[in-house]
């Protein structure tokens, strides 16, 4: 009887992310597994209707992503889309979904515009954003004397947003930004940018990029001896997956911000173990975040008693988030899910006790410090 409330008798959730490019380790195919875990944990059905996960690789191209999304909505009856790695993609798909009245829940993108200037009543932002990263990683370095920053910025929405937020934060703490340079997504050689940064006299090089781009920049900085004179690198967005790829030798000592770490408590360890059994690796905050969005979406459908967008969105706005991802999450009116973030430092190789033993926790950043207030976000919905 319930199934009557579900359009076309099935709830379809699309996982749209980068499965082969520079951000493939970030979420990628493993996130699809995380989503399936959520469906399984929820019981496979909602309101009596089966739940189905579809996925696609958007190659980090917003146009590819939006035509996949369009086709999903128009011909495949997909009800909501999640993960949306890369800010340009997330903005495009959230914009399209707003027009099409569909729910999007972003875990793989960072720009605060998603819940700011370009917010949507049906758009939700999980996991992290540039503000949280600026406050977390940026804040930690400023406190340790990093007061002259030079940015190496990925040339698209995410990079700008991360640079902007971090600069603002650095300046607010009395620091100074001595320059910045933009590089295309998936650039291969950072040496000339790094030399520019070095000759600017900065003591912190802010890497406002992500994924392999950051990893490569870190490696090349070591190659050119950039860090030998005390210049520090701020890997503003760096997760467990990339640390693993880079290796502790090169990554040791980096400070980074994440919202979830497998070795924090027993529940996390248990979740991570299940995840590892399916994918062969430990999850990072994006994988678990996607798990959480699928779970929360299904809970919301259950609560609303229908998969109709307005009703589900209303439920999502109202419900607290409490699952494997976080214990104290809440959704702001602009769609931002706020929860506690953590500041970690990458262990030295000799400190590590196992393959995945990589972080030392430095601090907890309470949710309302890490994230902007809805009223400051510039989102029209909140005024």
């Amino acid at each position: 009887a319930y199934a009557q409330q579900i359009s076309d008798g099935v709830v379809k959730i699309g996982i749209l992310n980068d499965q082969s490019g520079v951000y493939a380790d970030f979420g990628g195919k493993s996130s699809v597994e995380a989503a399936r875990m959520a469906v399984e944990d929820f019981g496979g059905k909602v309101l009596g209707a089966p739940v189905e996960i579809v996925n696609a690789d958007h190659q980090n191209k917003p146009d590819v992503a939006s035509s996949i999304a369009r086709q999903w909505y128009d011909t495949e009856k997909v009800d909501s889309i999640m993960e949306l790695t890369t800010s340009s993609v997330a903005l495009a798909v959230q914009g399209l979904s707003k027009e099409k009245k569909k729910i999007t829940m972003t875990t793989g993108a960072a720009t605060t515009d998603l819940t700011g200037k370009q917010c949507s009543p049906y758009g939700f932002h999980w996991a992290y954003d540039t503000h949280a990263l600026a406050v977390g990683t940026g804040g930690a370095l400023v406190e340790n004397g990093g007061n002259k920053w030079f940015f190496l910025t990925a040339d698209y929405a995410f990079g700008y947003s991360l640079e902007e937020q971090t600069s603002k934060f650095v300046k607010s703490k009395g620091g100074q930004v001595v320059g910045s340079v933009r590089h295309p997504l998936a650039a291969t050689d950072y040496s000339s940018f790094l030399l520019q940064a070095q000759s600017s006299g900065a003591n912190v090089i802010g890497l406002a990029n992500a994924g392999l781009d950051t990893a490569n920049a870190i490696k090349q900085a070591a190659e050119f001896g950039i860090t030998q004179d005390g210049t520090r690198l701020a890997a503003l967005l760096f997760t467990l997956a990339e640390v693993k790829g880079l290796g502790l030798q090169a990554a040791q000592g980096l400070t980074l911000t994440e919202g979830w770490y497998w070795d924090q408590n027993d529940e996390n360890r248990a979740f991570a173990k299940r995840f590892q059994a399916k994918t062969g690796k430990m999850p990072n905050m994006i994988h678990v975040g996607t798990y959480s969005t699928v779970m929360q979406y299904l809970k919301a459908v259950q609560k609303a008693g229908t998969d109709e967008t307005e009703a589900v969105a209303k439920a999502l706005h109202e419900m607290p988030v409490q699952d494997a991802f976080t214990k104290n999450g809440k959704v702001l009116p602009n769609g931002r899910m706020v929860y506690d973030m953590y500041l970690f430092q990458v262990k030295k190789p000799e400190e590590s006790k196992g393959e995945w033993d990589m972080y030392k926790q430095l601090a907890t950043i309470p949710g309302d410090q890490a994230y902007m207030k809805a009223s400051e976000s510039g989102c029209q919905l909140t005024q």
Partner: protein
């Protein structure tokens, strides 16, 4: 700190050096293209893919066979050269005598196949490839740290370019090559096995690309798309140098690399287009390219 036009000299030298390193790759790749174009009249669009294949060959040899950098430096070009020979024998050969555009289109299709297949198997993301232990570390040049590996790349590429140039300009085999460029049939009518020569030339050009790929692997990572991004710039280098001119390809490669480096200092926004701007200017002033002969 001294400055030139308001730019600190260390930064300037550093960028010139990096330009020279990039120029080494331009030179090696455009050299291979020029050799192939000179003799076969084929614009080898697969060149970028062959460069990528060289890097992947080194990566795969290391990962699956435990063969290290130094042997790969020889093995990878041989492997890629062998693949190229197959391509020449079974495909390119059928297009000789037709409009050269067909050669361009064929090699374009092949490039898509190679890149697509490797992207499918290995993903678009780069694979790390460590430089050989003998070449790790950096030299402090005073104005910058020069990674030893990159210094090696410049030296190796100069050596290869010079060697190829001497081979073509100063040897008997080179004389066959140059003569066959002008009139292949007649050279064959003298008893030279020109079809074999063509096959080997294509193999050699591809092997040069692959060698560049192996050299590039520790610097740029091994990725399926590493060639396709570079190849267009290399085309521009070849146009500027003068299609088919060996010396033109080499000199222009280094010079444009350095110019690009300088642009990064003085006007970074233009650095990715400076080579094309130079190309446009050269076309206006000397349509045949700097070292090219007017037809």
């Amino acid at each position: 700190m001294s400055t030139i036009f308001g730019i600190p000299t260390p930064a300037l030298y550093g960028q010139i050096l990096i330009g020279l390193i990039n120029g080494s790759f331009y030179a090696m790749l455009s050299l291979g293209l020029a050799v192939i174009f000179g003799l076969l009249r084929v614009i080898n669009f697969t060149h970028g893919a062959q460069y990528m294949l060289g890097a992947f060959a080194a990566y795969l040899l290391l990962t699956y066979a435990g063969i290290s950098y130094w042997p790969s430096l020889v093995l990878a070009p041989l492997l890629v050269g062998a693949v190229a020979i197959v391509i020449e024998r079974f495909m390119l050969r059928r297009l000789y005598g037709l409009d050269p555009l067909y050669g361009l289109l064929l090699t374009f299709g092949l490039a898509l196949i190679f890149e697509g297949a490797f992207r499918h198997w290995f993903g678009a993301a780069g694979k790390p490839y460590a430089p050989p232990a003998q070449l790790t570390g950096a030299l402090n040049l005073g104005f910058m740290f020069m990674p030893i590996y990159r210094g090696w790349v410049v030296a190796a590429s100069l050596f290869v370019c010079l060697g190829t140039w001497l081979l073509i300009e100063k040897t008997r085999l080179g004389a066959y090559l140059r003569a066959a460029t002008e009139n292949a049939t007649l050279v064959q009518a003298f008893g030279v096995n020109v079809p074999l020569l063509l096959t080997l030339t294509y193999g050699l050009g591809a092997a040069l690309a692959a060698l560049a790929g192996v050299l590039a692997a520790p610097i740029y990572q091994v990725s399926p798309l590493m060639g396709s991004n570079l190849i267009i710039v290399v085309f521009a280098v070849v146009v500027v140098g003068g299609m088919g001119s060996i010396l033109g390809a080499i000199v222009t490669g280094y010079v444009l690399g350095v110019l690009e480096g300088l642009t990064k200092v003085f006007y970074p926004e233009a650095s990715s287009i400076v080579i094309f701007v130079i190309m446009a200017i050269v076309l206006l002033v000397r349509p045949a390219g700097l070292f090219g002969r007017e037809e």
